[in-house]
Symmetry: C2
Subunit: 108 residues, 2 copies
């Protein structure tokens, strides 16, 4: 998933938050800092490998930032950047739509 050019913004947006997990992860970081373990619990069904991989890519794209504390056991906190915040705002209507759609299609 990496093509150009696009005649609208949908293409670039999906390059950044496409895939199964990224939007959900970013959404969990909306307005709150989360530890790695927290995210693992919140994002139901994700494996550690995927979580790390997606967090790295979100970081590379400037959507989230990572803060590491030199403690034992280790502690790492993830939070959105201002760019990530702006994306979350843009995702909100889509999340609403998805919520309604899920209700209509009786997904428990």
């Amino acid at each position: 998933m990496a093509e150009k050019p696009y005649n609208c913004g949908i293409g670039p947006a999906f390059e950044v938050i496409g895939g199964k997990w990224k939007a959900v992860i970013l959404w969990e970081l909306n307005n709150q800092t989360r530890r790695f373990g927290e995210l693992k619990r919140l994002v139901v069904g994700i494996s550690e490998k995927m979580l790390i991989q997606q967090l790295r890519e979100l970081e590379e794209d400037g959507l989230i930032s990572r803060k590491m504390f030199n403690e034992i056991p280790p502690r790492v906190e993830y939070s959105t950047t201002s760019l990530g915040d702006s994306l979350n705002i843009a995702l909100a209507p889509l999340a609403d739509w998805g919520g309604n759609y899920a209700k209509l299609h009786d997904k428990k």
Copy 2:
């Protein structure tokens, strides 16, 4: 890409418009009916196979409708349903965001 449950609407939404093409296709149908060939030209880079496949799935999910005319050569027109319209509305902020993001990252 087909899991449940989700704790937010982002999951279901991405089940429906996830992937490389669907959102772009739906976007091209925003407020206008398009023929198959038109879409092929508008959605830059898509193959016929992908276009048909994605159109079929969008139809199954109730987002677009297909009108076939018994003419030779054949003519088929695609347009959004009201559900598809509501999704396009929800996608608009994301498209805006993507447009800005693309500018910032000098993707020509």
